[in-house]
Symmetry: C2
Subunit: 158 residues, 2 copies
């Protein structure tokens, strides 16, 4: 029922706190986004470590991405990613049609400006999860119509 | 399986962040505890609002406390409070034998000093949950043997 709610509320408080404390000094939005992204990264690493403790080894990159779309996403957001696309050259697009961390904001264009700060933590989360499996990546996100959301993962070949 | 993990990791990051940022200035431990407590309070309020949206009205104070021990605790920590005691005069003791936010620390006395910062948020959580139902309280916590933990709730009569 409200299974993801504690996480959601805590995430909201975290954003509020980071933005509030930044007002006294470092005013830039960019730094706050980076902070959130970094925190997401560490949480993603830890979570992935725990989730894969007893899973079989992954076949390939696509297999890893599927795990993120299903098991990992369900663990955090209590739902799966709705759509996964790839160009088979290291770019993956994960679409969540009802991204939980945005679902408390009114839909429509009015609050679209606020979206980035609700996406940064999750971008880090995915990057951290991949990093725990030895996959280096760049993760970005975009929202066109809330609360739908797309995460783009670019795998960095070593 | 790892249902409470995202919340647990995020909570840990929050503590780290608050303590790290405090090093550059406000050095006192007390202020950090208060910050965590306040964040817990707001999360508790929000959660309780959502959890009671469709429940019947509570009979009395004890009924409220039972709801906190069962539904509320399960929502946040994926387990119930193990033991609830009261003196029937506004004091309640909630005992959790395996408090999830401490379960990542080693048991034993070695890390007992660290316990308060892992308790503050939850004290606020309970206080906020009660406050949402119009019950004013003071909530404190103590740990004797980790990860067991007791929360004492003192109801403030108006």
């Amino acid at each position: 029922m409200a299974d993801e709610a504690p996480f959601q509320f805590l995430h909201h408080e975290l954003i509020q706190y980071i933005y509030k404390t930044a007002e006294n000094g470092e005013a830039e939005n960019g730094r706050n986004i980076t902070k959130l992204e970094n925190m997401g990264f560490r949480v993603g690493q830890g979570l992935m470590e725990r989730l894969t403790k007893e899973t079989a080894r992954f076949k390939d990159e696509l297999d890893v991405m599927k795990f993120i779309c299903k098991d990992f996403w369900t663990c955090v957001f209590k739902k799966q990613i709705d759509n996964l696309r790839t160009n088979h050259q290291g770019i993956y697009v994960l679409q969540d049609n009802k991204y939980r961390l945005l679902s408390q904001l009114s839909a429509g264009k009015q609050y679209l400006d606020l979206a980035p700060k609700y996406l940064a933590f999750t971008c880090g989360l995915v990057r951290g999860a991949l990093s725990n499996l030895g996959v280096k990546s760049i993760v970005t996100a975009e929202v066109s119509i809330m609360p739908a959301c797309k995460f783009q993962v670019m795998i960095q070949k070593m």
